[in-house]
């Protein structure tokens, strides 16, 4: 766990015509970058003021030598301030935080992402391939994303299937429908999922009676990010779990899905 002043190396904006726009932030952060594992996250300080007050958590999207990448969506005050950052800006980073994903026992794992939930799975995908796996990615989006973003991601991801709610890119429908369809053809060795709670729930509902392990990366409002404030808990079957340090990755079977 390191507190480091990182520097913005590159900032790419992928603005789609409709709604959701995504941003990829490349930060030089030598100490954190070398330690980072897929599923872990960082907490960054948006500015030196107290509005917004708290650090913001972001999954590690990718690492490359002494740099790490974040992939984020503008949803509020902090992320819209971030979207204005330009090269050279210094950013206080706390990380790597959290437990990270576990390796699958065998091939082929499926990575199921919703929206910005692609972030930790992108890193995992890379990592799994590096370790000889042939992961499949299923990514659900509300609307189409910009062509530049598709091009950018295609450089790294093969075996990706995209679903959009309005059918403007890839298949039309929810990514969970994609999971069910693919399951008619082939079986996953393990499922990794990150995205909105309703998506995670429906994947879990579908999966729960099958003998397939599933890990999910969850979110919660965080203050400290390191297990000190007890603010980020979710309901597990065996009591409360701190998302920041007992997660953010959990065995899906340990979560009380109907109470979160």
């Amino acid at each position: 766990m390191i507190l480091e002043v990182a520097t913005v190396v590159e900032h790419r904006h992928f603005v789609a015509s409709k709604a959701e726009s995504f941003h990829i932030l490349k930060l030089r952060s030598p100490e954190i970058a070398v330690q980072a594992m897929p599923g872990q996250f960082v907490m960054l300080r948006v500015n030196e003021l107290f509005d917004p007050l708290l650090r913001r958590p972001f999954s590690i999207f990718h690492t490359e030598k002494d740099c790490l990448y974040l992939f984020y969506k503008v949803v509020g005050k902090g992320t819209s301030l971030m979207s204005q950052w330009s090269q050279g800006r210094e950013v206080s980073l706390l990380g790597p935080l959290g437990n990270g994903f576990g390796l699958p026992s065998k091939d082929v794992p499926w990575l199921v992402a919703g929206g910005a939930g692609i972030a930790p799975l992108f890193f995992l995908h890379h990592y799994l391939k590096h370790h000889g796996y042939r992961p499949k990615i299923l990514w659900g989006l509300r609307y189409r994303i910009s062509q530049e973003l598709i091009d950018f991601l295609s450089k790294y991801l093969d075996n990706i299937v995209i679903y959009t709610e309005d059918g403007s890119l890839g298949y039309q429908g929810l990514v969970t429908e994609g999971v069910e369809k693919l399951y008619q053809i082939t079986k996953p060795s393990k499922i990794y999922a990150c995205g909105p709670i309703p998506m995670l729930k429906s994947v879990y509902d579908w999966l729960k009676n099958k003998d397939i392990p599933m890990e999910v990366s969850l979110e919660a409002q965080m203050a400290c990010g390191i297990g000190a404030c007890l603010g980020c808990i979710i309901k597990g079957k065996e009591g409360y779990k701190k998302v920041c340090c007992e997660g953010p990755v959990f065995d899906a079977r340990e979560i009380k899905w109907d109470e979160i």
Binding site: A223, G225, L230
Partner: protein, 305 residues
């Protein structure tokens, strides 16, 4: 640096090598932040509030960010005083810092039992929380009624040889009445302020944004309120005060000391910048040097009107 500068402060029966502590509930049991903060440098570590039995705490969501503030409704989740002594205290004892244990109970008897139990542990002081807005069971808060506050304090003091500080809520009509009551009961001093009762609403679901509906607000927006309450006390009596509320840098800490606090606690700022407490100690040293002062006690309570 600063070898020739004295930062030692005395609060009743407690002496600290410097006036900077980390506040209860914002620094876990010390261990969590030990990766980032050299605990040896701190005046004291105040651990998360402990009760006799472990406590589960409130339903999520437990946190809401507000402008320059944070509302928490942790609900005093803790592992209980017994497990603390067995599992957490040994780690803390490795460091050259004072360990202050923050306690809360649901009855006067529970406070007494906690005090008695902890008196045999190797800790340095007790801070009794009579002001947490998140305990629902207690009905009316101990901290808002001078009589109740006095009773609790007396019970604790009778069951311990340790220095005792009483942690106060800001939401009272007359803070000095409470302070008088607890000092009479034998407290070594008071620490204030605890969080301010607060609330936030999601206008789309029309539901509270906290699982517990209400919570306690902390953070930079508290500072001006805390300073004023301490000033109210200082004008009326001489009592060891630990200043808490929205401190984020050495300037903030010095405001409290100048008004009359003998020590300070850093809370929410730990989340924002884990090194806040260390930077404050350094900042105070630099300030004293620049002002040509050699002792922090030359600053405490020197507000000129």
């Amino acid at each position: 640096m600063g070898r020739d500068i004295n930062l030692t402060v005395k609060l009743g029966g407690l002496e600290l090598k410097n006036p900077v502590m980390v506040a209860s509930g914002t620094f876990g049991y010390g261990e969590e932040y030990s990766w980032l903060v050299d605990l040896n440098q701190l005046g004291a570590v105040v651990v998360k509030g402990l009760s006799l039995k472990p406590k589960l705490g409130n339903l999520p969501p437990r946190l809401v960010e507000t402008p320059c503030g944070l509302i928490n409704a942790i609900g005093l989740e803790n592992i209980g005083v017994k497990r603390f002594v067995e599992e957490k205290l040994p780690f803390l004892k490795q460091f050259d810092t004072k360990v202050i244990v923050n306690i809360f109970g649901y009855s006067v008897g529970e406070y007494a039992q906690l005090a008695e139990f902890l008196s045999s542990a190797s800790i340095d002081a007790l801070e009794i929380n009579i002001s947490c807005p998140n305990i629902k069971e207690s009905g009316r808060l101990f901290g808002t009624d001078p009589k109740m506050a006095q009773e609790v304090t007396k019970a604790v003091c009778q069951h311990t040889h340790l220095p005792v500080f009483v942690k106060l809520t800001p939401m009272v009509t007359d803070i000095t009445g409470i302070v008088e009551a607890v000092m009479e009961a034998g407290a070594d001093g008071v620490s204030l302020i605890n969080t301010i009762p607060a609330m936030a609403v999601n206008i789309y679901t029309r539901r509270p944004r906290l699982g517990n509906v209400t919570g306690g607000m902390s953070g930079p927006c508290l500072k001006p309120i805390a300073l004023k309450l301490i000033w109210d006390i200082v004008q009326k009596m001489r009592v060891p005060i630990i200043g808490i509320g929205g401190i984020t840098n050495y300037e903030d800490a010095l405001e409290f000391l100048i008004v009359g606090a003998r020590a300070v606690q850093i809370g929410t700022a730990n989340f924002v910048n884990p090194k806040t407490s260390i930077e404050i100690i350094e900042g105070i040293q630099q300030y004293l040097k620049k002002q040509g002062l050699k002792d922090i006690n030359e600053v405490i309570g020197t507000l000129r009107i």
